[in-house]
């Protein structure tokens, strides 16, 4: 029989306001096996933890039930508390009387009654708990960063600096990501390329960093410390080791009509290309969708001009498999498609552009050489209208996104300011719902745009944009002025919402990392573990976790790196001891468990058993590798004889909880 101590937490008033904690601890004191029961204001505080330890020693407790917040919050805390007092940490059960009781029920009687039942269930379970000892598994001391934008680069650099090898997998021919396309950065207006490209070079030159550009993650197996990842290295038809990046081929290639994705299709590139001058690796790539040689077998110009002999039309996709201890997702974002926003005439007029396109039009390395010209006729625009929140903060979510894209207010202010600075003869209007500037020097920046640069900020939404005689007729409402506005604009710039990259969803499935409804990766805890995925060994860096600007991204990238380093410095990881185990006496050896095990943790041996009348019986029995088993329990249900059970969540324990709840 266990000697159980029950500790009911008030959580200040979080629990105590809707649950009579005294009644709960009194009721639970009467349960069989309970030798001590109390309540306290903050059980997770030092004083609370000290009390638990004291009572473990005083009463010789063999089991502890804490009625408090979710076990997802403090189960580990209380396990450690008990361990320090000499109790096996797995002799602790948490009754969740906050998130699943006090917070959802307003009536104190109901809440108290439910809390008692939840406490009883935890007591019933702990009665059947057995001390568990965690095993260990080795850690592969290499990290994988998926995505080579500023987030991925920073994470990789920080991990590499700590001395661990790290691979960056980037789906594009070069690393750099969205930041390479940006002209200036708010609120300091320093040049994006000037601060990014040195980092790209650092990454390329760091001997701990291995850049796998033009590559994609194909499959992920394993678990924290021991991931095995299959990476597809897409054929670029250029031998990376030979190409010097001289760029001659990209000048001679006869196929000139390829939309240049780097400039968002605002100009063209060749079929063989280097995305931009500072690309890393600076290696040419042949676009198989346009290359005449690859499509028809006739041409071969690039091969002829390449003195390094790097062109290889026979190159095939290559699958490589590597082991990693940790994986960082840094898959970034994209502006949403403007297809559903016809009211802004995006598809009808080339002079309606997105903000990212506007970046390219303002960029010295862009299609216009940095001079702002209308895409339709190459003339200088005089009236510009910026529309904010295009697709952000949309209710219903059919057309756009329910969330705030966070960066648009600031970059729009930047665009407006830069336009006015370079071209003082322009009229710049910004239509906004709210201007959100919470950040260091952000509001000052916005005020400068209004006050110093004379940008017209108008609260209201643009209702319609109609191209007419080379002008864009903008109809809008001025909510503060209470009037309808009609502006004849030369250009309209749409601050398109951002969304996670499309590759994130399949990647999340491979990583078994969870995502929210908008396909942003979910963090393990929104406040306390913001750079970790709930899936152990998977970390989050940058905008794949939620919209953020460059400094935030870099900060998170560093944080993710530090978490990875914290993992990789360990030689061994403590395994989850709540794993499956098979009772050999009952095992049929039928392989049902093996078939449903996602980790291949189950093997079989033939073993001799003592049979009746001094005979020996040889039977095939299952064996679970506790280092590989992750404790999902699929096998326990597949097993018809019940030989397979799960430690910490045994059949008997779950049924005891059921009994206690239904009583």
């Amino acid at each position: 029989m266990q000697k159980i101590g029950v500790f009911v937490c008030w959580c200040g008033s979080n629990i105590a306001a809707t649950v009579d904690v005294q009644a709960v601890s009194d009721a639970l004191a009467k349960e069989p096996g309970v030798v001590f029961s109390t309540n306290y204001q903050y059980m997770c505080s030092q004083a609370g933890q000290d009390m638990i330890q004291e009572k473990i020693r005083e009463f010789g407790l063999t089991g502890v039930v804490v009625c408090s917040c979710s076990p997802r919050m403090h189960e580990t805390t209380f396990r450690k508390t008990c361990e320090k007092a000499g109790l096996n940490p797995y002799m602790v059960e948490i009754a969740n009387i906050r998130e699943q009781c006090s917070w959802i029920h307003k009536d104190k009687e109901t809440g108290t009654e439910k809390a008692i039942i939840l406490g009883r269930a935890a007591i019933a379970k702990v009665q059947l708990n057995a001390p568990l000892t965690a095993g260990q598994s080795p850690v592969v001391k290499r990290a994988l960063v998926i995505g080579g934008g500023i987030a991925g680069i920073q994470t990789a650099l920080d991990i590499a600096d700590a001395g661990f090898p790290v691979d960056i997998v980037e789906t594009k021919p070069t690393i750099g990501g969205k930041m390479t396309q940006i002209d200036k950065t708010f609120p300091t207006l320093d040049c994006a390329a000037c601060i990014l490209t040195p980092k790209m070079v650092d990454a390329a030159q760091n001997e701990n960093i291995n850049i796998l550009s033009y590559s994609e993650v194909e499959a992920v197996k394993g678990f924290v410390g021991n991931f095995s990842v299959t990476i597809r290295r897409k054929a670029r038809f250029v031998d990376e080791t030979k190409c010097t990046g001289c760029g001659l081929c990209t000048e001679k290639c006869p196929q000139k009509k390829v939309p240049n994705e780097f400039n968002l299709g605002l100009d063209n590139r060749r079929a063989i290309y280097i995305p931009f001058a500072q690309a890393v690796p600076k290696v040419a790539t042949i676009d198989p969708n346009y290359c005449t040689m690859l499509k028809t077998g006739k041409c071969g110009v690039c091969s002829k001009v390449c003195t390094a002999g790097a062109i290889d039309y026979q190159q095939k996709d290559e699958l490589i498999e590597r082991e990693y201890g940790a994986i960082v997702a840094a898959t970034g974002f994209n502006p949403i498609s403007m297809d559903k926003f016809d009211e802004f005439a995006y598809s009808q007029s080339p002079d309606v552009v997105t903000s990212l396109e506007f970046e390219r039009l303002m960029n010295a390395a862009g299609p216009t050489g940095g001079t702002l010209l209308r895409p339709s006729d190459g003339t200088h625009p005089h009236t510009l209208v910026f529309v904010q929140c295009v697709g952000s903060r949309c209710d219903g979510g059919e057309k756009g996104k329910p969330y705030c894209s966070k960066i648009c207010c600031m970059y729009t202010a930047k665009h407006a300011m830069l336009t006015r600075e370079k071209y003082p003869d322009t009229d710049v209007y910004v239509f906004y719902i709210d201007v959100r500037t919470p950040g260091k020097n952000f509001d000052e920046f916005y005020r400068r745009a209004v006050e110093e640069y004379g940008v017209h900020y108008i609260k209201g939404m643009v209702g319609k944009v109609v191209p007419e005689n080379g002008k864009l007729k903008v109809q809008a409402s001025d909510l503060l002025g209470g009037q309808q506005l009609h502006i004849d604009a030369d250009m309209v710039v749409l601050a398109a919402a951002i969304e996670p990259d499309k590759s994130a969803r399949p990647l999340a499935t491979m990583l078994t990392a969870s995502m929210d409804t908008n396909d942003f990766f979910t963090e393990a805890h929104p406040k306390l573990r913001p750079v970790e995925s709930p899936t152990a060994g998977v970390f989050l860096s940058g905008a794949c976790q939620g919209p953020k600007d460059i400094p935030e991204t870099v900060a998170q990238a560093g944080a993710a790196a530090s978490k990875v380093i914290g993992l990789l410095v360990k030689d061994h990881l403590t395994c989850n001891p709540c794993v499956a185990s098979s009772n050999e006496m009952m095992c049929n050896g039928c392989s049902a468990c093996e078939k449903v095990c996602p980790y291949g943790a189950i093997t079989y041996i033939d073993k001799d058993f003592r049979g009746p009348n001094r005979t020996t019986l040889r039977r095939r029995v299952a064996q679970v590798n506790p280092a590989v088993c992750q404790g999902c329990g699929a096998c326990t249900v597949a097993c018809p004889s019940g030989a397979m059970d799960l430690k910490g969540f045994s059949n008997a324990q779950i049924m005891a909880e059921v009994d206690a709840i239904c009583k």
């Binding site: 009952m586 049929n588 059949n651």
Partner: protein
């Protein structure tokens, strides 16, 4: 057929391939045939039978027999038995290398209860192969059509194919178009209240003798959960309607995807509970929801409950398929 089977049994022993053969032994009457192990020509000549009452599925005995020392065990298997034989191999229960399997062509087995239901009492013996049977009784001879007295499972036989045998006596058969799901469909078409009443009527007769479980080739656990005091659901007798339901639901669930529909459960039930209708419900559902699957038909496909498709129907399909609304 009996003579050919007997001759083969003797041949297996005398050629030294086997030191024992598993077959059917004659009883007091024509129908009370017992599975038995034969070790000599004399025994076989005197007592080995193969006829319309050799319904017992021999495959389950091979779990123990195939683990015994000595030469191979010769086993005579009807088409039904061969499905179970293969399924048990798939589950590593039978050591195939220790078995010499002889498939026996089957014309369908008769049901003694069907004879009795036809008003024939005091049965002493029966004769005849082909379509007509002559029955000797305490009250004189009677003649019946074989078809009329076939066991239910044989009247809607799914396959006469002999699988995975070393040798075949008689002719190899084919998979058949079977109406075996008709009864299930009828039940599905009822209202829930009618179904509840039907099954209460049936299952309330259960005496928990475990005959269905112990005869079932799929129920070959070293220790059944219902016999294991630590399983949480052990029970020796059905104390009430819940325990009757519990036993039969869990048993059917444990064999779901593994049950070959050999029909032994219903054959042996002393209370004539149509237990096969539970197993067939699972088979029918599996066929409809996840694609046709016949347990034991092959050696390599994954059983449906140890398999999945990304686009499997959601459990709410049970609500949507409802017939009563």
């Amino acid at each position: 057929m009996q003579e050919r089977v007997k001759a083969k049994a003797i041949e297996l022993l005398e050629s030294g391939v086997c030191d024992r053969v598993l077959g059917w032994k004659a009883g007091e009457f024509f129908y009370d045939v017992t599975p038995a192990v034969f070790t000599s020509r004399e025994e076989i000549e005197k007592e080995f039978v193969f006829g319309p009452f050799c319904g017992a599925n021999m495959s389950k005995y091979l779990i123990a027999e195939s683990r015994k020392e000595g030469k191979k065990v010769g086993a005579f298997l009807k088409p039904c038995d061969t499905y179970s034989f293969q399924q048990l191999q798939k589950e590593h229960r039978i050591w195939r290398e220790n078995v010499y399997a002889v498939g026996v062509q089957c014309e369908g087995m008769c049901d003694i209860e069907a004879l009795k239901a036809a008003g024939i009492k005091g049965i002493l013996g029966a004769e005849g192969s082909g379509d007509t049977l002559t029955v000797h009784t305490l009250y004189g001879d009677k003649s019946v059509e074989r078809k009329a007295v076939l066991a239910e499972r044989c009247a809607c036989c799914k396959s006469k194919k002999l699988l995975g045998c070393d040798e075949i006596v008689g002719e190899q058969g084919e998979e058949l178009e079977s109406a075996r799901f008709e009864q299930v469909a009828k039940l599905e078409a009822m209202t829930p209240d009618e179904r509840f009443a039907f099954w209460r009527g049936e299952l309330s007769r259960c005496i928990r003798c475990n005959a269905c479980r112990n005869v079932c080739p799929a129920c070959s656990c070293e220790k059944c959960v219902f016999d294991n005091p630590n399983s949480g659901i052990e029970n020796k007798a059905a104390s009430n309607s819940f325990e009757e339901n519990l036993f039969h639901i869990i048993r059917a669930f444990h064999v779901a995807g593994r049950c070959t529909d050999c029909g032994e459960c219903s054959r042996v039930c002393p209370q004539h509970i149509p237990l096969h209708l539970l197993n067939r419900k699972f088979i029918k559902d599996i066929n409809e929801l996840y694609g046709e699957y016949q347990a034991g038909a092959d050696m390599d496909t994954r059983p449906p409950l140890m398999n999945f498709q990304m686009d499997d129907p959601e459990p709410s399909v049970v609500h949507e398929r409802g017939s009563d609304q």
